[in-house]
Amino acid sequence: MRCGILTRLFSVAFFKSVALAALIPAIMGLAVAGAYAAEDFGPVEPIKVKEKMAALGKRLFFDKRLSGDAAISCASCHMPDKAFTDGLPLSKAYPGSDGFRNTPSLVNTAHRAAWFRDGRLGTNLNDVTRESLTEDYFMNMDMRLMQERAKQDPVYVKMFKDAGLGEPSNGGIRNAIPEYLKTLISRNAPFDTGNMSDDARAGFELFKGKAGCASCHSGPRFTDDQPHNLGVPENPEIWRNPLRHATYVAYAMFMGIENYMNIRRDVGAHVRRHKADGSDIGTFMTPSLRELKYTAPYMHNGILKTLEDVVAFYNRGGGDDPNKDPRIKPLGLSRQERAELVAFLDALNGDPLTGPDFVLPEPVPTNYEAIDDWRDATN
């Protein structure tokens, strides 16, 4: 890690003083959720990885042969130069389908407690990898075929062996991709290095205080990993585009969403508990606020183009929904305050993860050589 121990110590001291400063508006009755301790925020912990397994995971991540028709790789939607998003309001999907949600960033994904915008998987990245590979409208891959494809590539045969994973297998793939994802950790954001502008510092105070952001955007990644309803408006593109709508219907069928042919809204994290009173409809997982510079547009359906739009949305008290979280109220932020908040969010952008540690230097070949001694070779 570039971030040495001295810097870390400095950061901790810095946060302590910041936390003290945060007490002042709290005492004045402006803070929504009280004071935050230094350890509530801070650098995202790097994760120690098995290097050979991570290198294998990286190659797999960029390999189009991991999708059913070999047309897309993980990186088709999770692009390194966009903090592993795609820059689109609504993601693309597997050919023949089209996406109904905004592609979430994969930076710091290894620290999440639950995955996807609706938090439908709360187990681990192995399951997330399986879901992403096999879901009809993601990569539509039969993992048995995926295994045999990997076994056909001598580069993989060696990499799996070197990584201690034996011969290529779908289980090995589902271990290796998460190992690579664990390397995608934010680093050197001004917030972490203590190099924030005055505006950003002022924005941080608002973040913890008057604007109340920290009541959900807490912790090193600035998320509580919980679903909430902000009243984000529906993205009408989903319902007027038959491919996107059909893809949502397929998702809804599979997730057991009632009345799926007639509803015209994304029920979000309702799929986690299916609350009978519907009070969880329209909740979505709090996203991390790190690397936002690279991940526009915003919200689960990409309905907001810029961070200024996002701050303005919150300043208005969010959107219109009977189940809106009561903490979402008009904030009364001035133009200056809104700019300070955006400056703070800008201080959460780290180094782009676009170097050779994270990106393959050249594309993975898409063809397969035949095994020479086929008749005698062990399958």
Binding site: G68, A71, N140, R149, H245, W374, N379
Partner: protein, 381 residues
């Protein structure tokens, strides 16, 4: 031993002679004779209607019944390629190649089981297997059914034909099966001949028929109106050449072993298609495939389950040589023996085989309806 060697030999000869005497009575040739083909059976739970057939035809052509909306039934069952695919191994889903030869759809209405090893019990079951298999259509029910709901003309037709409020995917397979039951051919030269028109076959073809039912003994398995006993045999077709030289084909070959659940030991060693074995897991069924009908074969080259033979001459040569060798030698049927056919006899036989096919069946491709946005329902929230 009580008996000397000579006595023993005499006894054996006596028994053999006795057997020969009774043989014609005991194992009289029970092969059903060749016969003209009648109307196909229609299952009582999927009646043929004009609207259903028309819907099935559209769906047969519609690639949206597949994973990435590129691969329809027709993609591997091309009318211009004998309602099959004119390569040894069928083309597969994009990014793959299939591992078996694509079979014609013509006259499948009569078959008790579908696929080379009889893995599907009806046309209604065959269609989804093909649409969903990873190296065929690679579709999933939920996505395919959802797509149908966004095609207004399908909503209308599924409602009319099946009473569906929203198109149900299982009804798509029923409609496709109904369409396939119209793809029959019952007026081949052979049918006409067998119905009494003796001019329908040439003299050469009649000589070929005599060989077919006699010296060449094709009738042993290719019998009845459909020219198949619908039983399973290993005739020693060699493994597909593509498996030796084509990386994609090797991938699919191993995938099939994996997917069909063979033992680890077998997966590691096998280099050929074990056919019926995958269904029964009985060693005696390794390498066995269902006798295919000979009808419409004029248009369906190449032949055999892996497309090993590119024309009928190669097929007849293969049988004339007593079949071939594969790794399932123990299960090779004893019915396959060298035939000793002369060059002229081979030509007569091939001429007769051509009488199993009438004119090429051509169908104009349907116009496929478009997607459209789905208006909000009255009770939408």
């Amino acid at each position: 031993m009580l008996f000397g060697k000579t006595t023993y030999l005499v006894a054996v000869a006596a028994i053999a002679a006795a057997l020969q005497l009774v043989a014609p009575a005991a194992v009289a040739d029970v092969n059903p004779p060749l016969a003209p083909l009648g109307d196909p059976p229609v299952p009582s739970d999927n009646a043929q209607t004009t609207a259903k057939i028309e819907l099935g035809k559209m769906l047969f052509w519609d690639p949206r019944l597949g994973g990435d909306a590129s691969t329809a039934c027709v993609t591997c069952h091309e009318p211009s390629q004998g309602w099959a695919f004119s390569d040894d191994l069928s083309r597969g889903y994009p990014g793959t190649v299939h591992w078996r030869n694509s079979q014609t759809v013509i006259n499948t209405a009569y078959l008790g089981k579908l696929f080379w090893a009889g893995a599907a019990a009806s046309l209604e079951k065959q269609a989804p297997s093909a649409a969903k298999g990873a190296v065929a259509g690679n579709g999933e029910n939920d996505v395919m059914e959802a797509r149908l709901a966004f095609i207004p003309e399908y909503r209308k037709l599924f409602n009319e034909v099946f009473g569906d409020e929203w198109p149900k995917i299982d009804n798509a397979w029923r409609a496709i099966a109904a369409f396939e039951r119209t793809l029959v051919q019952t007026d081949t030269p052979l049918d006409q001949y067998l119905r009494g028109d003796k001019s329908a076959l040439s003299e050469q073809q009649v000589r070929g028929m005599t060989l077919f039912t006699g010296k060449a003994n094709c009738i042993e398995c290719h019998n009845g109106a459909l020219s198949t006993d619908q039983k399973y045999y290993n005739i020693g077709v060699p493994p597909a050449g593509r498996w030796e030289e084509d990386g994609l084909a090797q991938i699919t070959f191993r995938y099939e072993q994996f997917a069909k659940g063979v033992t680890q030991k077998m997966y590691r060693k096998i280099k050929d298609d074990a056919g019926l074995y995958y269904r029964t897991k009985q060693a005696a069924d390794k390498g066995k495939f269902r006798t295919p009908s000979l009808r419409y074969t004029l248009y369906t080259a190449p032949y055999m389950h892996n497309g090993s033979f590119w024309d009928l001459r190669e097929v007849v040569d293969f049988y004339n040589a007593g079949g071939g060798e594969n790794e399932f030698g123990a299960t090779k049927t004893p019915a396959i023996k060298p035939l000793g056919l002369s060059e002229e006899e081979i030509e007569d036989l091939i001429a007769f085989l051509e009488a199993f096919s009438g004119p090429e069946i051509k169908v104009e491709a349907p116009k496929l309806p478009d997607y459209a946005p789905l208006p909000a329902a009255a009770d939408a929230n």
